[in-house]
């Protein structure tokens, strides 16, 4: 545990939320990506995160991204005969992405980032208060 544990833990939170934001941006960008039925559909990414252990010293070390999970490669079989990627029966694969879910997660990532940034600011104020003890005599 360093003297800036709170700031360091929030920093890992900020990094995780940023990774989440990146992944969600990619998912939303590819919401209409069409793939031929011969291959897998675009697979949405989901982060798997876990806490960072602080070797039993108590306050914990923050959070980290441990894995990147992919959604179902089958996607949604869609009848789209006008597409140049359509197979003989006129089907293509669209990604199985729920836009509402992605937008909800996006707001959670944004608010999570802001919350961690607020913790950094508050922690800074706290440490500064500690430094200023006894300054105004």
């Amino acid at each position: 545990m360093s003297i800036f544990s709170a700031i360091n833990a929030s920093g890992t939170g900020l990094s995780t939320m940023r990774s989440w934001l990146d992944v969600l941006a990619n998912n939303i960008a590819n919401v209409n990506t069409v793939k031929p039925t011969s291959g897998p559909a675009f697979q949405a990414s989901y982060l798997e995160v876990s806490e960072i252990s602080d070797n039993g010293s108590g306050s914990g070390g923050g959070v980290e991204v441990t894995d990147l999970r992919k959604s179902d490669p089958a996607g949604r079989l869609t009848y789209l005969p006008s597409s140049p990627l359509a197979d003989a029966n006129g089907y293509v694969r669209l990604p199985d992405i729920d836009m509402g879910e992605q937008m909800g997660n996006l707001i959670m990532a944004q608010r999570g980032f802001q919350a961690n940034a607020a913790v950094v600011d508050r922690a800074r104020d706290v440490y500064e208060a500690a430094i200023n003890i006894g300054k105004n005599r």
Binding site: G11, L14, S15, R18, V120, N132
Partner: protein, 104 residues
């Protein structure tokens, strides 16, 4: 940017360790020179925090910075550590001045 200002403070700081080494630790060498060790250790921590912030500032300028908050957090820590060092220096000088002002 804030970093040059922090660097300027650090340029002034390393003068400090000479103070306890010259007289105080020689007189109180049985105590192990704890204050001097702590002081130089603290100043090294200040230096490393500022080095980290500096290298991240360079990364930001060259476009190699992947996480913006990495730099802002490092800069915050560097400024806090510098503030702490100057606070300790002020306290030390206050104590020294009080002792120098003692009269029988």
């Amino acid at each position: 940017m804030t970093v040059p200002a922090i660097g300027a403070i650090s340029a002034a700081l390393p003068v400090l360790p000479a103070l306890p080494n010259s007289g105080a630790t020689a007189a109180a060498s049985t105590g192990g020179g704890n204050f001097a060790n702590l002081l130089s250790k603290g100043l090294n921590a200040v230096q490393s925090a500022q080095d980290k912030a500096d290298s991240l500032a360079v990364k930001a300028a060259t476009g190699d910075l992947t996480d913006i908050h990495d730099y802002t957090i490092a800069a915050t820590q560097a400024s806090l550590v510098t503030e702490l060092a100057t606070a300790i220096r002020t306290k030390g000088i206050d104590a020294f001045n009080q002792i120098m002002g003692m009269q029988a």
